[in-house]
């Protein structure tokens, strides 16, 4: 037996990590469940409806009923589908969407892993999520599913580039790929957050985030009026539930990253002022991170309730002909500003 296997401290550390993973993932699942409730309520109110209101007071138990329904429904394995890939696809979508949470800093010192390549890891995992959808579309052996997967591949690939360029802007200001260091580089109050010098990149990042997660108005991948349900048309029951989990945790992840990269993560907007020192709630802490993340989560639903769906060629044009030139020019501007002596 190698030395480390008998070393108690190694196993203690493993236990600590597993516990930490549970402390992050289980609340995340609960948030996903109630995010769907919030979505139906908010979109309902935007459209002058009540949304779910029957299960429990104000429909509050609706997500629980939904989970039970999804778990007890039959998982149909289409006869012509590739069975192995068909069951692998939901996992291939879920693991990256959950995995990126390992490096998200929630508060100063409050994170599971503080790796120096944090942003690179997150970018890599958010891109890997596309594989789940492409595998699902291929394995289903259904026309709608394949069309959805094709659209998804081209769309994600296009917005990936704009997203990467937007992150380059963040790196130019922070000088680090470490997510906690990026937050610390924004300390000093609301005017020191990166959203001000990076405003065009923030918009590109946010819209690309909506496109990468296939949310309205960019949901041509699953658009129910065109492709019925796109890549997951053949999925039912718990296999569908896994795709659902993946999509919603990816949305929450993009919200959390926007808050972390552009809006100072756990930092308070009043940081360093006397008011913040006098009133503890106004000082930096995890509640600011939660508040900012919740705001961007709300934005996802707000967009859904407000914008009509884009046409596919419009989506591709926006990605290639607007976002890529805008980000490239802004990187030039940032570089020139740095050269001229502004520290951003």
């Amino acid at each position: 037996m190698p030395d480390w296997m008998t070393d108690l401290s190694v196993w203690l550390r493993v236990g600590e990590i597993l516990l930490g993973a549970m402390v992050i993932l289980l609340p995340l699942l609960a948030v996903v469940a109630y995010y769907t409730y919030a979505e139906r309520k908010i979109v309902g109110f935007i459209q002058m409806r009540l949304g779910p209101s029957r299960v429990g007071p104000r429909g509050l138990f609706q997500p629980i009923a939904d989970v039970l329904k999804l778990l007890t429904k039959e998982v149909v394995l289409p006869a012509q589908a590739s069975r192995g890939l068909f069951l692998l696809a939901p996992l291939a979508a879920l693991v990256p969407a959950l995995g990126a949470w390992a490096v998200v800093p929630f508060d100063d010192g409050l994170w599971l892993a503080n790796i120096d390549a944090g942003l690179l890891y997150v970018l890599a995992l958010t891109s890997l999520g596309a594989y789940g959808i492409i595998i699902a579309g291929w394995a289903s052996n259904s026309k709608y599913a394949l069309l959805g997967a094709m659209r998804q591949a081209a769309q994600v690939v296009s917005y990936e580039i704009a997203m990467g360029f937007a992150l380059v802007g963040v790196l130019m200001l922070s000088g680090s790929l470490n997510l906690a260091a990026i937050v610390q580089a924004q300390s000093g109050g609301i005017l020191d957050w990166f959203f001000l010098p990076l405003l065009p990149l923030l918009l590109v990042y946010l819209v690309s985030g909506v496109a990468e997660t296939n949310r309205l108005p960019f949901d041509v991948v699953e658009g129910e009026s065109e492709l019925v349900a796109g890549f997951h048309v053949e999925y039912s029951g718990s296999a569908f539930a896994v795709f659902f989990l993946a999509e919603y945790s990816a949305m929450i992840l993009i919200s959390a990253l926007t808050a972390t990269l552009f809006f100072g993560g756990w930092l308070s907007p009043l940081e360093g002022t006397q008011i913040a020192q006098a009133v503890p709630v106004l000082d930096s802490g995890i509640h600011w991170w939660l508040l900012k993340t919740a705001f961007f989560m709300f934005c996802f639903l707000w967009f859904r309730g407000t914008f009509p769906r884009y046409r596919y060629d419009q989506i591709m044009r926006l990605g290639w002909k607007v976002f890529i030139p805008v980000t490239l020019i802004w990187i030039f501007v940032l570089g020139a500003a740095r050269y001229a002596g502004f520290t951003g």
Binding site: I17, A102, S142, S176, S238
Partner: protein, 118 residues
């Protein structure tokens, strides 16, 4: 440092475990009642008249090739942006020249209509 990466690895495993658990739970809690019509691919109620794995537009390949090009560019920019303090004016100008060359290529693709979708 390896310690931190161990955390990431274990986290990914826990994430996969949650996915497997949901699938297994669904398998245990649901009943299975297959019949030939249910197992056919969905095509708005019609019988599927040919294989779904059909030919698709060559433009998808073009977009993916362009993607590889630009993603490499992003991969070059990442370390450069992190080391912006150290590379100084020389690094800044080198990257400007590199980006200009790529911008010329991008303009060429644009003019040739590689980015059109209609």
């Amino acid at each position: 440092m390896l310690n931190e990466y161990l955390a990431v690895l274990l986290f990914l495993l826990v994430g996969a475990g949650i996915g497997v658990a949901v699938l297994l739970l669904g398998h245990l809690m649901s009943r299975r009642d297959p019949d030939p019509d249910k197992l056919r691919p969905y095509e708005c109620g019609f019988e599927a008249f040919d294989d779904a794995r059909m030919k698709f537009d060559v433009r998808y390949y073009l977009v993916v090739i362009l993607f590889v090009l630009f993603d490499l560019e992003v991969a070059f920019l990442f370390p450069w942006a992190v080391a912006l303090e150290e590379v100084g004016a020389y690094g800044l100008i080198s990257m400007a020249v590199f980006l200009l060359i790529l911008a010329v290529g991008f303009a060429f693709e644009w003019r040739r209509g590689a980015l059109e979708w209609d």
